[in-house]
């Protein structure tokens, strides 16, 4: 007797869902903090529905059949949301493998007496579910990569703020190491801001740069030269004694760049060159 697996599964849809959900809930790593039982039930029902409805006796061996596009779409959706919610790969894997276990368990119950058919059906279901697992992993990793790319973008955005400290004075605190890509972003942001605000002095504060090597110094010099070409003056401030030592030992020539030890002294210098004065207001003593 040849069993029609698709018919069998359609008939037993309810018990597949129950079995699968039971598997998921009994899983040790169930993340109740990330997903509620209702959501698990809803996702599981949707997936099983779609799988059972699209499965036929013919396409069960053709994992790339367009009939399964729906199933794969649903799987990708679930996988991507799980990646964004912060599920681990193991947990996401357990989700899809739970379905496989549920299906195999059911087949075992239903096709008890015919070992050969059971074996055949098991192989078919295994192949099908394995290909679904691959889709799940692919989309899971894609989802995580999207998260990483977004975070990288955010970090580059956050790490290069251009601050307007005074009318005509910009400050740019650099935190972390300067590589070529970051120098490019720093330079572009700074020059753009100079154009927009019409500032004539830019202060580049490097107190947050852990170490300066010849490459970083080169990047700094480039930024200063570009600022000069725009018609603004660039001051490098926040040079720590260790950095001054390294710069001299490396033989880097910063003699044609204005350098100040602190942001405060750079600001003072800027006030002087803009012919501004900061005064203390005399306090009137009570009579």
């Amino acid at each position: 007797m040849v069993y029609d697996i698709s018919k069998l599964l359609q008939k037993k849809k309810k018990s597949i869902i129950e079995l699968w959900i039971k598997n998921q809930l009994s899983e040790a790593g169930l993340r109740e903090d990330l997903i509620s039982n209702e959501e698990i039930r809803q996702q599981s029902e949707e997936l099983v529905d779609s799988l059972v409805n699209n499965l036929t006796q013919e396409n069960i061996t053709e994992v790339n059949s367009p009939d399964f596009d729906d199933v794969k779409d649903i799987l990708s959706g679930i996988s991507i949301t799980r990646a964004r919610q912060g599920f681990s790969p193991r947990e996401t894997g357990a989700f899809i493998f739970g379905l496989k276990n549920a299906l195999l368990e059911l087949l075992q119950q239903e096709i008890k007496d015919d070992k050969e058919s059971l074996y055949e059906a098991t192989i078919k279901i295994n192949r099908l579910l394995d290909s679904f697992s691959i889709v799940t992993f692919e989309t899971f990793i894609k989802g995580r990569e999207e998260v990483i790319i977004r975070q990288t973008d955010e970090i580059t955005e956050i790490s290069t703020p251009v601050i307007r400290v005074w009318d005509g004075i910009l400050a740019l605190p650099i935190i972390g190491t300067l590589d070529s890509a970051r120098t490019q972003v720093v330079m572009e942001n700074l020059l753009q801001e100079i154009v927009e605000t019409g500032s004539s002095i830019a202060i580049l504060d490097i107190s947050g740069v852990p170490a300066v090597d010849s490459l970083i110094a080169q990047h700094l010099i480039k930024t200063v030269s570009a600022t000069r070409l725009m018609g603004a003056e660039c001051i490098i401030s926040g040079i720590r004694p260790e950095i001054a030592q390294t710069i001299v030992h490396l033989g880097i020539d910063l003699s044609n760049i204005i350098t100040k030890s602190t942001l405060a002294s750079a600001l003072k210098f800027s006030f002087q060159s803009l012919k501004l004065e900061v005064k203390r207001i005399p306090v009137k003593t009570a009579q």
Binding site: M187, V195, G198, S225, L229, M230
Partner: protein
């Protein structure tokens, strides 16, 4: 052939480049400008490149050359309004335009030029006075 107009404003020559320069135009600008500096004995040259969006190493060198030539003819050169992209390109090409003064816009460039010219006049005056004392 196209020409870039050179305007005389007192002691200063004003050049505003409204189009993207190509090599031949840049060369003719160079020779015209040097001729004009000689003819008007201008004390300063102000080049506005705010509309120039593309530069290559050749144009970068031309700007440097113009500045050096004018310097020999006793005129200061100020390049104003450089676009950020242009500035980055010139730096990446290794052309920091060291003999050239720069300013953000024409107004600031004029202030810079005028202050330079005035200090020049002052120093010559001082020299003359010194000479008078000497005699």
């Amino acid at each position: 052939m196209e020409r870039i107009p050179i305007l005389k404003m007192g002691q200063v020559l004003l050049v505003t480049i409204q189009i993207d320069l190509y090599d031949r135009l840049a060369l003719s600008l160079e020779s015209d400008l040097v001729q004009m500096v000689k003819k008007t004995s201008a004390k300063g040259v102000l080049i506005d490149i705010s509309a120039v969006s593309i530069v290559d190493s050749f144009l970068g060198r031309i700007f440097g050359n113009i500045a050096s030539m004018c310097k020999i003819l006793d005129a200061e050169t100020v390049v104003v309004g450089m676009q950020p992209a242009v500035a980055i390109t010139l730096i990446e090409l290794g052309l920091p335009l060291t003999g050239v003064h720069t300013a953000l816009d024409v107004e600031k460039g004029m202030i810079l030029l005028n202050s330079n010219i005035e200090t020049d006049v002052d120093t010559t005056d001082d020299l003359n006075e010194d000479d008078n004392y000497a005699f």
